[in-house]
């Protein structure tokens, strides 16, 4: 996965010619493009894949950058003129993004081997050569786009919701929650379903060869964080036993190998291993309750 197919391609052309190829169209009229042409350039090495079952391959692109650029902004710029470092015009690179401020979770990918949101990966913090690959563990749709349906399937498996009677107002005042508990809970509700913790988790199974709605593999840290959150909620607590039973089944909590990768890579600094620890205690208590039938 780390070998660069593009590495054995012909040497780069000079930066000047690559920049010249980028934007000679005066119709764009963008001062940004002009400025882009005058600053440093980087090389993107992108692992591409035309379709889910196609073989991956690598392409290199040289692109001029602007101050403040991030991986999403250069991928966006590249779409307008996708010419490889070898001067070949190719299809634009498919990738996902939306908010560009690290809250929608769409743009997660592997950047120089690390899973992270591409929008907050600033070029000034990266090298002159940047390696981009799709987020591992998830099936590739095309290029850097993956299908994260498994992440949401895990939220179903763990019943990560409160059971409301309905959407209407029942005029019941909000329950009191201490500031201390709020602060602990709020950490988990910052999850943006990006899948980065799953990509980094050694126990979260690779999608290859598994059914799309994978129902037995490890549910992964993201869903466990939500179980922790909902089990603490004054109403969510009522279905605590159901959620705990879900994570006491195959592919549940005990599949965690305690590698602690999840907590290291989470861009929102969610204390996922703390959640897993708390759930460990909760499942132990639940097992005792189950044994005595209470």
């Amino acid at each position: 996965m780390t070998s660069i197919a593009g590495a054995d391609r012909p040497a780069l052309r000079g930066d000047g010619s690559a920049d010249g190829a980028r934007d000679t169209d005066p119709s764009s009229g963008s001062a940004a493009d002009t400025q882009r042409a005058h600053s440093r350039s980087v090389e993107l090495q992108i692992r591409r894949q035309d379709a889910p079952d196609a073989a991956p391959y690598w392409q290199r692109f040289r692109i001029a950058t602007r101050p403040g650029d991030n991986v999403v902004s250069v991928l966006r710029a590249l779409r307008a003129d996708p010419i490889t470092a070898d001067g070949e015009r190719v299809d634009p690179v498919a990738f996902e993004h939306n908010c560009m401020e690290e809250v929608c979770g769409a743009c997660a990918m592997l950047i120089d081997g690390s899973p992270r949101p591409a929008c907050s990966a600033l070029l000034k913090d990266l090298g002159a050569v940047i390696r981009l690959e799709p987020l591992p563990k998830f099936p590739v749709v095309r290029d850097l786009m993956v299908d994260r349906a498994r992440l949401f399937a895990a939220l179903k498996r763990t019943r990560a919701w409160v059971r409301l009677d309905g959407h209407w107002d029942n005029h019941e005042r909000a329950p009191r929650i201490s500031q201390r508990q709020w602060a602990a809970d709020y950490l988990y509700s910052r999850c943006m379903s990006c899948g980065i913790c799953l990509a980094a988790c050694p126990q979260f199974p690779d999608a290859a060869g598994r059914p799309a709605d994978d129902s037995a593999g490890f549910v992964g840290p993201a869903a466990l964080g939500q179980v922790r959150l909902l089990n603490a909620h004054p109403l969510g607590r009522y279905d605590k036993a159901e959620r705990l039973h879900a994570i006491m089944a195959d592919g549940g909590l005990t599949d965690c190998g305690n590698a602690q990768n999840c907590v290291r890579v989470c861009p929102k600094e969610i204390p996922l291993t703390t959640a897993i620890g708390e759930l460990g205690r909760q499942t132990t208590v639940q097992a005792v309750k189950d044994f005595f039938g209470v």
Binding site: R76, A94, E101, S189, H233
Partner: protein, 636 residues
């Protein structure tokens, strides 16, 4: 219940609320979204959601919320829907709370509330500074539960291309494209709800909006006959980060919690901001608007910053930027209540807002205008009639709209933290209206002839085929950049008829060019350029509606500011009880007479209708049955 089929397009706050209500009413919902629901732009809302709970001992009232919203919106909103929305707000908060939303708490464990713009009371519930994301978690989880029960069928990675109408012109389904296989397919339904969000991408890249907030879906509905209202009323948020790829939002909550906006008194001062003593800082909002200070409504704050930078040449370093300063506030307090925006600023600007002031400038943010929607006035309450099938119905029978893609609640300027409220409330009301609409349907869409569906699929497929085959030489990405530059420079914070005429000519030219695009790829799988090219075409058409509407309104109202038609306020401040005829000050008497004459002429909803020759602009009266518009907007 028989259980009919409904289509909801859009998985943000409005669409998910509508889905909850309709599926909860026993009907099957097909929920369409461009991506997984939690990617929707609603997650970007930061500061909070307004609801009168009066938790801070300030004698807040629902009446005051209604007044603030109507006046803040330049009196342009129809009043019964605003009344009902404000009355429903506390119940919505309680419902979100039951869903598990992590609202911030007071030391007593109660819901905390903070100050926002254009108001004097702490009325804004919040969950740190990521309130939109938190509310989305709540409804997304509820919809997932319905999905697990087989009551909601999600179609993620599908894009609405058009509506399907039967022989009577009733909307009976949609044609959508699978963004992976590019399959174009018709889906039948007994009602369609659009909850497709805003259109900030018309101003790319100088916008706080996500890249999918293109307005393309609303544009498509408009082109098929749905009327579009108040298109010219578009909000520029005063405090967006400076950025070339995107101008990221720094919540109004920053000022609500005590943040101050300033520039160096000496415009040539090049010292680091922390080295400039207090006496040498110009807090221009506090000086110009002593009553509201830094929390004036957004249109006013944006114009003030514009004036500082563009007219007075007083921006920081002579540029388009002013300081938004939190450094005088308690660090732990700010970290707890604004952590999410601090993190965004740190990550993207590389400096800590607790160590040095942030640099900000206005950017395109929110569409007050949108698809025209109806409501049924309830004489018994003065609000809207609950469960009326007319509520949130567009001008196309069978088609409903809610959330930012409608025009209903914000008049000429939206107050901060009223958008999460209107998105949630309108989604719920639209859902309830659909339930009533369905009760009146005799023949379900499944029994309809196939012809109109097949014809619409063929029409949409041919548009795709043509785009894929076209080698016209125009690049969709560059066309979009040109549109954004044009709208930002000519249809922005300050407007002028000559500029708007020039903009209309340029938009016409862009529309011509957009007919000759070269996608540069013809891949039949997950071809993102094809979907994008179609969005660009529809954004250009929507830009024309917006610009033509702006050209038609010759006055200043809320976010729509044409200096040539400005009625300057008298130098003295009006007495707080100032009403028509209630002023002794002759300057105010004269002003009030001119203000009311202007209202006679312009206090009207702009309504655009699609014709082959371009938008036909008309006006309709505003329902003013709740509060007579007798207070001009004076926030000094």
């Amino acid at each position: 219940m028989s259980g009919r089929q409904v289509i909801v397009v859009g998985g943000g706050l409005g669409g998910l609320w509508a889905t909850l209500v309709i599926a909860g009413g026993g009907h099957r919902v097909m929920l369409f979204s461009l991506f997984e629901m939690m990617r929707s732009h609603s997650v970007c809302a930061q500061g909070g959601i307004n609801a009168v709970l009066d938790m801070q001992g300030q004698h807040d009232s629902v009446e005051q919320h209604i007044l603030d919203t109507l006046k803040g919106g330049g009196w342009l909103a129809n009043q019964p829907p605003v009344k009902s929305m404000c009355e429903s707000a506390p119940g919505l908060i309680r419902t979100f709370e039951r869903m598990g939303v992590t609202f911030s708490r007071t030391p007593e464990g109660l819901l905390d509330q903070r100050l926002f713009g254009g108001v004097k009371k702490k009325r804004t519930c919040f969950a740190g500074a990521s309130t939109g994301q938190q509310l989305m978690h709540g409804v997304d989880q509820q919809v997932r539960r319905l999905e697990a029960e087989g009551r909601v069928d999600k179609h993620e990675w599908w894009e609405l291309l058009s509506l399907v109408k039967d022989a009577d012109g009733v909307c009976r389904g949609i044609v959508a494209m699978d963004l992976r296989s590019l399959e174009v397919r018709a889906f039948r339904a007994d009602a369609v709800v659009l909850a497709t969000g805003g259109l900030g991408q018309l101003y790319t890249p100088q916008t706080t909006c996500s890249t999918n907030s293109t307005g393309a879906a609303a544009s498509r509905a408009y082109q098929q006959g749905a009327r579009f209202a108040n298109a010219e009323l578009f909000q520029f948020h005063p405090t967006a980060m400076i950025g070339e790829d995107k101008t990221r939002l720094m919540s109004e909550a920053a000022r609500g919690e005590g943040g101050r906006v300033w520039v160096p008194k000496d415009p040539t001062d090049r010292r680091e901001p922390n080295r400039i003593p207090e006496a040498e800082r110009w807090h221009f909002l506090e000086e110009w608007y002593p009553a509201y200070g830094n929390t004036v409504p957004r249109d006013i704050a944006s114009r003030a910053i514009w004036k500082i930078c563009r007219e007075l040449g007083h921006g920081v370093g002579g540029g388009d930027r002013v300081y938004l300063d939190l450094t005088h506030l308690d660090r732990a307090f700010v970290e707890t209540r604004l952590g999410a925006i601090l993190s965004i600023y740190r990550k993207f600007a590389g400096t800590d807002p607790l160590g040095a002031p942030m640099e900000i400038f206005p950017a395109a943010h929110y569409a007050m205008g949108g698809l025209w929607v109806d409501f049924e006035h309830d004489p018994a309450t003065g609000g809207v009639k609950p469960d009326s099938p007319r509520n949130h119905a567009t001008s196309l029978p069978g088609l409903y709209a809610c959330g930012e893609c409608d025009y209903a609640y914000h008049g000429a300027n939206r107050l901060g933290a009223n958008s999460l409220l209107s998105a949630s409330y309108s989604g719920r009301v639209a859902g309830e209206a659909v339930l009533s609409h369905l009760a009146g349907i005799e023949r379900g869409a499944e029994a309809l002839a196939d012809a109109p569906f097949a014809a619409e699929v063929a029409r949409q497929q041919s548009i795709n085929d043509e785009l894929m085959a076209n080698r016209g030489g125009e690049n969709p990405y560059r066309l979009h950049a040109a549109l954004g530059a044009l709208m930002t420079s000519r249809v922005g914070v300050v407007r002028d008829n000559a500029e708007l005429d020039a903009a209309l000519a340029e938009i016409a030219e862009l529309e011509q060019r957009a007919a000759h695009m070269d996608l540069t790829e013809s891949t039949p799988w997950a071809n993102q350029t094809l979907a994008y090219a179609r969005q660009v075409q529809d954004m250009i058409r929507l830009a024309r509606v917006m610009t033509a509407s702006a050209r038609a309104r010759d006055e200043c109202r809320g976010a729509h500011y044409k200096p040539a038609f400005e009625l300057p306020l008298p130098a003295s401040k009006a007495a707080s009880s100032a009403t028509a005829g209630g002023n002794a000050d002759p300057a105010w008497e004269a002003y009030m007479a001119r203000w009311q004459a202007n209202n006679e002429r312009w206090l009207k909803t702009t309504v655009a209708e699609h014709t082959p020759d371009g938008p036909r602009i008309d006006f309709e009266p505003v329902d003013l049955s709740v509060l007579a518009p007798d207070q001009p907007r004076d926030y000094r």
